[in-house]
Symmetry: C2
Subunit: 678 residues, 2 copies
């Protein structure tokens, strides 16, 4: 048996014995997140028939359904024909769970599991069904070709999460996302062992959760785009069945225009006539000074508590400038009477009142950074969008916290950057006691610029890399290896129904009005959307703007970035050698430049593509730059200072905003230029 260090890329020859034949296979480590402990043995389990599933210990419908789904996915991956349900096969899968599944998950649940695969069986041991589900997901990721078919290599894994709170937030307020979108994203979360779906249900731009007590909330505040209570119960059950908690968020007292459209009496002064179409921070706010406000919130949250069984309710609490709190005489007089000195103190008063309601419901409150005001009770959890310092400050004050700042997907950053941001780096100055208060992290998918067609490509596969950050040991941080495994998990996620890989081509076809998009696809492969901030500045969008431009089609962090970066690094290590990288780069530049003319034809024929013309022209400059730089380096020739200066000017020009997209190849290109001797 070979013990492996975590993070090592395992590629061991493993002998698979099956009847007479024995085949050598390379163990392919495609697991994401990486388990905390594993050791590889020789041989493996040949997948050549259906599964004979044995469940020992606790067994219930929840666990059995999870096993059934996992078995089906393994059969799909391995191309096995399922001869019939209930018919025992020859591949033994043993699942041992100590305790029956709890109807409601908790932050303290034991999610650990052990997995042992031998040539005769795969066995999963776990305290809870949650651990067993994680073990099943790992098992699926272990299926690989071997011999003439598929195998699961012999392995022993002991695995448990580094953080207890591993979340994904989806903002369904600014743009509504259909139930099917939520479900497939929950499937994706389960595949990479995330365990909290934070459902951002209300925004200035829409109230998305049906209330029977206050039906106007959706009747007036949603354009008819909302989740029925039945939908919500279905999502909660769907998530529970996959080991995922659902934490609902109802934003208050700010980000609440949709509440106020429906119930103007809640307002601190003015209220909008319809839900807000513009994005950005609004001035409207719920009035914290009236008793009726708390009667309303109390009745509403009581209704919601019956639908969302999780121990936490998220009240938002961020970005509440509330200028009317400073101008409304009644509010001013209330503040004076109660010794409330400013808006921050008034919001603290509001939070305390809402917290009392939540406590009465036997639940805990979670809110964004701004809820952390003096006197806040210590059982409130603070979700930090401001950063790791804000999170640490909270921990030192005694508050549990969840980090979100480095995991904003709409920043359109590469997976590597998110991946390396640690919620609790070993360099942190927190004490052991304080460190325990860092519960974990949450990925945030804000909704300004996404709809059902584009959301998946913004979330995936980057979120899988972040999921590894939340689950695996801190030392697992080899970026190249992460990207290698991310490529595999991305395909697995597509198999679950996520559309992150399909949506780019679909968008390009829509823009070009034809199926023939080879050239356009090539141009798109080196471009990605600009960040939320850059788009927000450059394009005046609102909720009703169609999100079907070129910027919506292209994906953040396309695989080209990583490939080109690595290929250039290797080329620069031996620029005069006749290497595979040199040939590959040369061929690639030819493909790129060859695509520009046919792409420009399509761009000219489609007004919605018109703005991309500039980028396509720039691509010609960039390929020329790359080709010339490689030529200099290969020949060992010096470039003129003019040439270098010109390249630098070109790169500067190309870094300017245009068409809401940016090139992902500029850094390696400038490395190439810089490497040319002068």
């Amino acid at each position: 048996m070979t013990a492996l260090r975590i993070g090592a890329t395992a590629a061991l020859a493993v002998a698979i014995c099956s009847g007479q034949a024995a085949a050598q296979v390379q163990f392919q480590n495609h697991m994401m997140p990486q388990p905390s402990q594993m050791s590889i043995d020789s041989g493996g389990l040949k997948l050549d028939s259906t599964f004979a599933v044995e469940v020992s210990g606790a067994s219930d419908a929840c666990l059995n359904d999870a096993i059934g789904r996992a078995v089906r996915r393994i059969e799909m991956a391995a191309g096995l024909r399922h001869a019939g349900r209930g018919v025992a096969g020859t591949t033994r899968l043993v699942v041992k769970v100590s305790r029956p599944s709890a109807p409601v998950q908790s932050l303290d649940d034991d999610e650990s599991y052990s997995l042992s695969v031998t040539s005769s069986a795969a066995e999963i041991d776990a305290a809870t069904d949650l651990g067993a589900m994680h073990g099943l997901e790992t098992l699926i990721q272990l299926v690989q070709p071997g011999g003439a078919g598929y195998v699961i290599p012999a392995i022993t894994i002991h695995d448990s999460p580094r953080f207890r709170w591993r979340g994904l937030m989806i903002d369904c307020g600014r743009h509504f996302e259909p139930v099917a979108v939520i479900k497939r994203n929950i499937d994706g979360m389960a595949a990479v062992k995330l365990n909290v779906f934070h459902w951002h249900l209300t925004e200035d731009q829409g109230f998305r959760m049906q209330s029977l007590v206050y039906p106007a909330l959706t009747a007036k505040g949603s354009d008819g785009l909302f989740y029925t209570q039945q939908d919500a119960r279905e999502i909660v059950a769907y998530a529970r069945a996959r080991g995922i908690r659902v934490v609902p968020e109802f934003e208050m007292p700010g980000h609440s225009a949709a509440w106020l459209v429906a119930y103007p009496s809640l307002s601190s002064g003015t209220h909008p006539d319809e839900i807000r179409r513009e994005f950005g921070i609004s001035d409207t706010a719920i009035d914290p000074t009236r008793e009726a406000t708390y009667v309303f919130i109390g009745r509403f949250l009581t209704e919601m508590a019956a639908i969302f069984p999780d121990a936490y309710i998220h009240i938002g609490g961020d970005e509440t400038p509330a200028p009317e709190w400073k101008t409304n005489p009644r509010i001013r007089s209330f503040m004076r009477a109660h010794g409330i000195k400013d808006n921050e103190a008034l919001q603290a008063y509001f939070n305390t009142r809402v917290l009392a309601i939540i406590a009465r419901l036997h639940k805990h409150m979670i809110g964004w950074d701004e809820v952390l005001t003096p006197g806040l009770p210590k059982d409130v959890v603070v979700q930090s969008w401001r950063g790791v310092d804000s999170l640490s400050k909270g921990a030192k004050l005694g508050y549990a916290g969840v980090l979100s700042a480095p995991y904003y997907l709409d920043g359109m950053k590469p997976a590597s950057e998110h991946y390396l941001a640690d919620p609790l780096p070993s360099s942190s100055d927190l004490s052991a006691e304080e460190r325990k208060r860092i519960l974990g992290g949450e990925v945030c998918m804000w909704g300004e610029h996404i709809d059902a067609r584009t959301i998946d490509s913004r979330i995936w596969p980057r979120t899988a890399a972040i999921a590894e950050r939340f689950w695996s040991p801190e030392g697992v941080r080899d970026v190249d290896d992460m990207y290698r495994r991310l490529g595999a998990v991305s395909i697995e996620l597509e198999g679950l129904g996520l559309t992150h890989l399909q949506s780019e081509d679909a968008g390009l076809r829509d823009l070009a009005g034809t199926e023939s998009i080879d050239a356009l696809r090539t141009v798109a492969s080196v471009l990605e959307p600009v960040s939320f901030g850059d788009r927000f500045k450059a394009q005046h969008t609102d909720q009703l703007t169609p999100l079907d431009g070129f910027v919506d089609a292209v994906r953040p962090d396309p695989p080209t970035r990583q490939w080109f970066d690595a290929a250039v690094k290797r080329f620069l290590a031996d620029p005069t050698g006749d290497t595979a990288d040199r040939s590959a780069l040369a061929a690639w530049f030819i493909t790129l430049s060859g695509a520009v003319a046919p792409a420009q034809q399509q761009i000219a024929a489609s007004p919605r593509l018109a703005e991309v013309s500039v980028r396509a022209n720039q691509l010609v400059e960039l390929t020329t730059m790359g080709q010339e730089a490689m030529q200099y380096l290969t020949d060992g020739r010096k470039a003129t200072p003019d040439w270098k200066k010109k390249q630098s000017q070109i790169l500067d020009e190309i870094r300017n905003p245009s068409a809401l997209v940016r090139f992902v190849i500029l850094t390696p290109l400038s490395d190439l230029v810089r490497a040319v001797p002068e």
Copy 2:
């Protein structure tokens, strides 16, 4: 004003006036189905702002929702920013409808409409909301680039369908299809003016419709995969909102194993213990001789009639060998007592009894060919899977009929073949009275080899071509022009959420385990699935076999077929000329042959792809054949008889079944070979 003949490809220069600027644009006729009458005017409506919608005459929620959806699609297509709902824009859309929307559609509804577009407004006139919806779909298909933006060319259209019954049947019995799949297919149907969704809800392999009266039907007969009554009501409402009737089918007395699993007492003798996994015709059948049978069917259909408001209920009725009717002594004795001489007569007795139940529910019966037995009342509609002769025979006997035989999608035939099959060719010998009995046609999507991931690519875009056959005048039958427009409608359908264009790449990525599938995609582009019959013979599949092989990824009738066929025809007209086709074909052969080696690498690494290796090797032979033939023809050289003989042998060999896929380029290739002088 220029009057156009239907079927003519219109490409007229149209002047678009917008403020100061006037731009020349080519009218692009992308409509499918083609309208029955149209004339093109000069100028057009520039789409430069939001819509100011005026509804005159009858106005109701159904119509308003349809208009809202259409406006949104036009805005998406034209990249218009919707500044706010309720805010009147500058593009006038006038919709005039004579009568309010009927809650339930009927076969006799007036679906005609007129559409008039000028530089100042688009106006739709229709007797019913159904006609208005068709007009809106036409309007969407008219949006095209013009000037720097988008326009709707000035046009006058008077349009009405050739047939009243234009259906698509989806078999959800053999494989269940989620509600989302049904909905997006209904969207696709509406886009091409189909008006009947025939929902095949029961099969030997599954009972998919919830009954509260007989809950075991789904509890025991569906693996938990079924539509709740709420789902069904939602689908019915969704379809009605899009001008589509829903005709439910409950198969009886054959194809009924799932009924019998749940209620064995209905059986004619034996009954299965679980739903049938194998495909093909089963021997089990409902017992037509017991009164309890009709009590059961009566209660069940009464329950269904409350969910499905359509005037028709489909009882299946096909393929009932029912050997037990010949061997069960009790059934034998009943037949003797009632003078029923054989199985056919017994089924006729059964149909008469069921018809009485349906009549009591104030509905009409429809069934497959086999229901047409002597004495069948004349108000039963016969759906013909046997062919146009069977349909004509029925019409002569006085029965109304719907043609399906030439529209079986699982035959994997090219769109052109379906397109040219006419339900009522002018050559038909039917009398005027009999011709009226041909209500229309129905496309059939049987479910043996489809799942939610692959169904769309089997249905679309081919069904759009058939929809034109059902709607447009008989004389509209230019195949090249159909394919040209099919390319555009295919992109429109993808925009509605259909996955027919995305699923091939997704399947290839899944098989290859990577995003890098350029070579594999090129190989796949010349292959299509074999017919249902060939697959059924070659591969022993059942309901539980994963449908994720190479055959499931590739699409029927890929665009390569039509492109290559046309390019070869043009090349052969001038083989020695230095034409664009010669260059394009030469370049294409190089691309194809270059893809084989990298594709073979991926095939070797993925056992599920292994069988495709043979086809990839054959592709090398085919490209060599094409290149050599072109060389002979270009040089004007003679080939040796040996060369010709060898090519013929290669083609014969390649026509043999392999890997469940077949090449779509063989006919033009053999044309090339045949053209080489000897």
